[in-house]
């Protein structure tokens, strides 16, 4: 039984939904970052799979740039997270409602 494009799509859907669950359920910001990583990875898989089954390199190109962005995002995110932690001594999402209207 041949592995077709649908298998990869199903896989990336599952990963995406796990990532989404993580994002929504987590209160701890760090854990939330992990979940966003999962989201990005699941998208990468589908890019790679589509580029493979479609014989087109664009998918992989896009995956590269996704990885680049993810890296920079994590860098900046963690910096901010540390600052927040220094000020409030916890990185709980609920405490971050000072910007409330």
């Amino acid at each position: 039984m041949e592995i077709g494009l649908n298998h990869y799509l199903v896989l990336s859907t599952i990963l995406f939904s796990i990532g989404l669950i993580g994002v929504m359920r987590r209160k701890n910001l760090l854990m939330l970052f992990f979940a966003t990583e999962i989201l990005l990875n699941s998208v990468n898989i589908s890019f790679a799979a589509i580029s493979h089954y479609n014989g087109d390199l664009t998918g992989q190109m896009f995956a590269f740039f996704v990885i680049a962005i993810a890296a920079s995002e994590v860098a900046v995110g963690l910096g901010l997270l540390i600052l927040w932690h220094k000020r409030h001594n916890n990185i709980d999402l609920d405490s971050m409602s000072t910007m409330r209207g």
């Binding site: 994002v23 609920d94 409602s97």
Partner: protein
């Protein structure tokens, strides 16, 4: 002549106004005398009018002022004095003068003496309007005015719960009939374009019969309520709560006869629709029998007389139904005299027995109350229809009418009722005046009423005896307006058999009642005797359970339904739904407040929910656009290619 018409009409009103001025003050005699005097003046004016109408044979028609005038409708305050209304005026003014004078004595120890005369004269005024008006709307004014005054007078002793309840019941039951009357008036207006008697009756033959039948039926419904015919009769018995002069005037002579007057006045209409007449006659016969049966067993003196009035009304409707209008009017006149006399006599007895009404608790009063005894016996004899007295001429005439038009069922019912009438009226007289003085057991010492009250009653006594004499003169006068059909049986033998037969039957009934109720061993029945337990007795004494049925299946459910309407429908459904809308707005505001409450995770959730919503819409429209071009056109209109 117009001057006399206005005097006859407005004298009672002036009397009533005068008495009303003193209504709050304690008893002042002039508040009683002035209205009676004014009523006497009105009686004189009516008799002058009678003489005028008799001689010239023409009617007086006068229009005082316009009442309602919009569009095609034009109703004036017009009054007509023709043969029919003059007879009624005579009856009304005579009986009310007698009752007014009698009431001065009867109500002498009552603290709201003045108010009584205000109401009584107001009643006579509205009765005069009813009788003298020349159009249906004026008739309706009198109709409702009479209902209002009977409400005031029945509920006169308003501290008594039963009196006020009876007053309300009478008023509401009359209103039910008045609705029928109102619809009849509308029918007449929209079909004949006017409400004046002469114009309306002139335009009626042109209409087709079923419209006329409906008119006849609706007007008869109005008459039925006012004259307490079958379905709407329970209020008459309860109306005995009022003072006796009220019962004498209103529930014997004037108000209850208003229904008969309406049928007589609308004779041109009822001539066009004989089958409605037949229905009226048969209903009248039924009511005669029905009321007489109830009177047989009743143990309340005034209710017995009330039922006898009801049964005599049945007679009048039977005569009017068969087309013999002048006979009905004649019986109405005669009946008014001797029934008022009977009631006033009963009033004297009630006063003497300290308001005790049960005839079984009296007995042998003839020794003490000589005058009242004579008057009540003569009245009962007249009621029974023994030869020389008024009853014979009027009631037996009705029997003849029924016999000639060969309505044998009606004839036999009326004949049997005549016997019953004789029986219960003499049961009453025997129980009260003859036999052993049972009142001694209760320690009451009766005394005769005031002299002037007996004198006041004497004109009625006189008329009860000699009313028969006027029959011929009355006949020529009235038949100028009403259809003049002579009623006498062609073969003399049959005629004699009939008259002698009825006399004998009535005599036998009287003798039997006399023998049964003057024997020594009459005791106050305490519900133990076999007769009282019998089903028939129970049925009759509870008036065929009709008041119970009305109470159970009309009054109570009405109360329950209205309570249900209020608490359920008004509060819970309509009001709640209005408040519900308001709450809905409030709650949506409340719930969506959390959306921007600053908590990042909830906001995240709402964001994801939003994207999901948008995406699903995109998918749905995407698919829809492919299948139906309509949707595609909409999308393209919005700018989504």
């Amino acid at each position: 002549m117009e001057m006399f018409l206005y005097i006859a009409l407005f004298a009672p009103l002036v009397g009533s106004m005068f008495a009303a001025l003193f209504s709050a003050k304690p008893k002042t005699l002039i508040a009683g005398i002035i209205p009676s005097a004014l009523l006497f003046v009105s009686f004189i004016a009516s008799s002058i009018l009678l003489v005028y109408v008799l001689q010239t044979g023409s009617s007086i028609h006068v229009e005082m002022m316009t009442w309602m005038a919009t569009g095609e409708l034009y109703i004036p305050f017009g009054f007509v004095v023709d043969q029919v209304s003059v007879t009624m005026m005579m009856v009304v003014t005579l009986v009310s003068t007698v009752v007014h004078v009698y009431a001065i004595g009867y109500m002498s120890h009552d603290k709201s003496f003045n108010r009584f005369f205000a109401w009584l004269s107001a009643f006579v005024f509205s009765m005069m309007i009813l009788v003298m008006s020349d159009n249906f709307a004026g008739l309706f004014i009198g109709w409702e005015g009479v209902g209002l005054c009977s409400w005031g007078l029945i509920g006169f002793w308003y501290h008594k719960e039963s009196a006020t309840w009876a007053a309300n019941e009478a008023f509401i039951m009359n209103r039910i009939a008045d609705l029928g009357m109102l619809i009849g008036i509308f029918l007449i207006y929209w079909n004949t374009g006017t409400l004046q008697y002469d114009e309306a009756f002139a335009a009626m033959p042109a209409l087709e019969t079923d419209v006329l039948t409906w008119m006849g039926i609706f007007l008869f419904i109005g008459a039925m309520g006012k004259s307490a015919q079958f379905p709407l009769h329970t209020w008459l018995a309860d109306a005995m709560e009022g003072p006796t002069p009220v019962s004498a005037l209103i529930h014997a002579a004037t108000m209850v006869t208003a229904g008969v007057y309406l049928i007589v006045r609308a004779s041109p209409l009822y001539d066009l629709i004989p089958n409605v007449g037949l229905f009226i006659a048969s209903l009248g016969a039924f009511v005669a029998l029905f009321a007489a049966s109830m009177a047989l067993v009743n143990r309340d003196m005034k209710r017995i007389i009330a039922y006898s009035t009801l049964s005599q009304l049945g007679y009048m409707f039977a005569a009017a139904g068969l087309g013999a209008y002048w006979v009905a009017l004649f019986h109405l006149m005669a009946h008014a005299f001797f029934k008022a006399l009977l009631f006033l006599g009963a009033g004297n007895v009630m006063h003497a027995m300290k308001d005790e009404l049960d005839p079984f608790k009296m007995g042998g009063l003839k020794k003490v109350m000589k005058g009242t005894f004579i008057m009540m016996t003569v009245a009962s004899v007249a009621l029974a229809g023994i030869f020389p007295l008024a009853g014979f001429f009027s009631k037996d005439l009705i029997l003849e009418v029924a016999f000639i038009d060969n309505h044998y069922i009606i004839y036999s019912v009326l004949l049997f009722t005549a016997a019953l009438t004789a029986f219960y009226s003499f049961r009453l007289v025997a129980l009260i005046f003859h036999g052993e003085e049972r009142y001694k057991l209760f320690g009451i010492d009766p005394h005769e009423a005031y002299k002037f009250m007996l004198v006041a009653m004497s004109p009625l006594l006189l008329l009860a005896v000699i009313a028969g004499v006027f029959k011929m003169t009355y006949f020529e006068m009235v038949t100028q307006v009403l259809p003049a059909t002579e009623y006498h049986i062609d073969s003399p033998i049959v005629y004699w058999i009939i008259t002698i037969g009825t006399q004998l039957l009535v005599g036998a009934a009287i003798f039997y009642a006399y023998k049964k109720y003057t024997s020594r061993d009459i005791k106050v029945p305490d519900g133990t005797s076999a007769m009282e337990k019998s089903f028939g007795y129970k049925l009759l004494s509870n008036q065929y359970y009709i008041p119970y049925i009305y109470e159970e299946f009309v009054a109570k459910p009405y109360g329950k339904i209205s309570a249900f309407f209020w608490s359920e429908i008004d509060q819970k459904i309509i009001d709640a739904s209005v408040d519900g809308i308001a709450k809905a707005f409030y709650n949506t505001g409340e719930n969506t407040r959390e959306m921007h409450s600053g908590n990042l995770s909830t906001m995240l959730k709402w964001m994801v929910a939003g994207t999901v919503g948008m995406l699903s819409l995109a998918v749905v429209f995407g698919l829809a656009a492919r299948h139906s071009d309509g949707v595609a056109s909409i999308l393209s209109a919005i700018g989504v290619k």
